[in-house]
């Protein structure tokens, strides 16, 4: 069985806020659900499936009750920032299997004005927690090793931020709308070697959501038709400390599965949403997905190759997590939303990819240098 062509993204909504001191987290989820339903032209009573992750207060039981939903299918898989890319795949499976017909997925939170939900720990806790692994230094370790093995440079990584900033200037909601240069990135303070402040994404309040449905329902609605044609997911960890390799992500497994199901190759992709918690995250995932060979990511991203209208692979045309939005430190949601905008032709005219009919939305979750998940979604305009 395949999900190819079975599930359509009928509604999307990105909360415009980046700072929400006067709202509750559950309230943000509800505003997002409402926004996604309005975008789709559906009502709350239509929803029969709901998906949320670790950011949802009280989990799926509390959220369904708070929102006043009545669902026959749900999933609260939490794989950090890529949870929503996993949910999109799982929602497509549920739609294909007839377990639900209109699924809602929401993400929201307010790390700038409240406490972050705690990161889950497992059997490793006594053997790792004392060493102060943060996103910055764990991704720093990946970048350090990548530079060591392949000669990747800080200048090359900086080009990823530069490209994101070129796109962010056209997004009125972007947290950092100013265009920056390679020199700006290199001159920003070192946070965790070799990552500078501008190699890091923003921290924002807010969130987003989307609605997945059947072909028949999608065709009865008014939005341009965007459907899932391939999905892959994978997990990676140190596995007993043998064969540790920080130069690749779980995307090496999720990517090929998604491309195979979709029956397309990286060369066919017109637009790429790539998780950008840090510049190194993008570079490694582009290699892992096959947009270039392993070790050649630095050369691939340099000289504006990711800038829409300039380079060969327009990426994160909303400004991404590096410049626009990274709600609750979970960037997978906005990756889906901008891919759908591109496929609908609703991206900002300055960054809209002409005749964009095939896009990828890909992300990792957890910590790239320790334990991680990856999910790859391939989407097409019908």
């Amino acid at each position: 069985m395949t999900i190819k062509g079975k599930a359509y993204i009928a509604g999307i909504f990105e909360h415009p806020t980046r700072h929400a001191p006067d709202k509750s987290t559950a309230q943000l989820h509800a505003e997002i659900a409402k926004g996604a339903l309005e975008d789709a032209g559906l009502t709350k009573a239509d929803i029969d499936g709901y998906f949320c992750a670790g950011d949802a207060p009280g989990g799926v039981m509390a959220m369904v009750d708070y929102l006043g939903l009545k669902v026959r299918h749900f999933d609260s898989t939490d794989t950090g920032g890529c949870s929503y890319l996993v949910h999109l795949g799982h929602a497509a499976e549920a739609i294909a299997a007839g377990k639900c017909s209109i699924a809602l997925v929401t993400l929201a939170g307010k790390p700038r004005t409240g406490v972050m939900p705690p990161r889950a720990t497992g059997a490793e806790v006594d053997f790792e927690a004392a060493y102060g692994g943060t996103t910055h230094n764990v991704y720093g370790m990946c970048a350090m090793r990548h530079m060591h093995e392949f000669g990747t440079t800080s200048e090359q990584l900086a080009w990823i931020k530069v490209a994101a900033s070129h796109h962010a200037q056209y997004n009125p909601h972007a947290m950092l709308p100013d265009v920056v240069t390679v020199e700006d990135v290199l001159n920003s303070p070192m946070i965790a070697d070799p990552l500078h402040r501008m190699d890091c994404c923003v921290v924002t309040d807010g969130g987003g959501g989307f609605i997945v449905t059947t072909e028949a329902i999608a065709k009865s609605l008014k939005k341009p038709l965007v459907r899932m044609i391939g999905h892959g997911e994978a997990l990676k960890g140190p596995r007993g400390g043998q064969a540790l390799n920080l130069t690749y992500s779980a995307g090496v497994w999720s990517g090929p599965k998604a491309f195979e199901e979709a029956g397309v190759t990286p060369k066919d992709i017109k637009y790429a949403s790539i998780y950008d918690s840090f510049t190194i995250t993008v570079l490694m995932q582009l290699e892992d997905l096959g947009f270039c060979k392993k070790g050649e990511g630095g050369k691939f991203v340099a000289d504006g190759n990711l800038i829409s209208g300039v380079g060969k692979l327009p990426f994160n045309t909303d400004g991404g997590g590096l410049c626009s939005n990274h709600p609750v430190n979970r960037g997978g949601m906005t990756k889906i939303l901008e891919a759908v905008r591109q496929l609908r032709g609703e991206a900002h005219p300055k960054v809209q990819v002409p005749n964009c009919d095939l896009a990828i939305a890909h992300g990792t979750g957890g910590l790239l240098g320790i334990r991680q998940a990856a999910s790859t979604c391939i989407l097409e305009r019908v």
């Binding site: 490793e124 004392a130 350090m144 965790a192 007993g240 400390g241 043998q242």
Partner: protein, 129 residues
């Protein structure tokens, strides 16, 4: 270098208690599977490679080299260096580099285990040799 940093106390459990009893004696223990021969870290009772329950404790040399690292420039408890060490016996582990000049760390730097006190069992760290 005085190290006044307060480290969290390992919680320990029946599966890992022996590891922590040995750190109190200055020993770094790994697990080896007698069925497939592979060593692993952190310790499991069932081998994560072949799923045999024939795993035995083995004292590590405590020597290895840096696989990768990053210097955290600021934190509530000051700057620190985090990284992975690949032990001579094979497994790699996450750690901090202490009691040495973190500006001189490099991938490949030879390191050895040192232990730091907590309110319970001591924790393993590594220092440049």
């Amino acid at each position: 270098m005085a190290d006044a940093k307060k480290y969290p106390t390992p919680i320990t459990n029946p599966e890992t208690a022996h590891f922590w009893e040995q750190t109190a004696k200055g020993k770094l223990m790994i697990k080896r599977c007698t069925a497939c021969g592979e060593a692993h870290y952190f310790p499991r009772s069932i081998c994560p490679f072949c799923f045999s329950d024939k795993t035995v404790w083995e004292e590590s040399s405590g020597e290895g080299e840096i696989y990768t690292f990053s210097r955290m420039r600021k934190s509530a408890s000051g700057p620190y260096a985090i990284g992975y060490v690949t032990l001579k016996e094979g497994p790699s582990l996450l750690t901090n580099f202490v009691d040495c000049d973190m500006e001189k760390l490099k991938i490949g730097t030879k390191v050895k285990v040192v232990f730091k006190a907590t309110d319970g069992a001591p924790l393993p760290f590594f220092t440049a040799v």
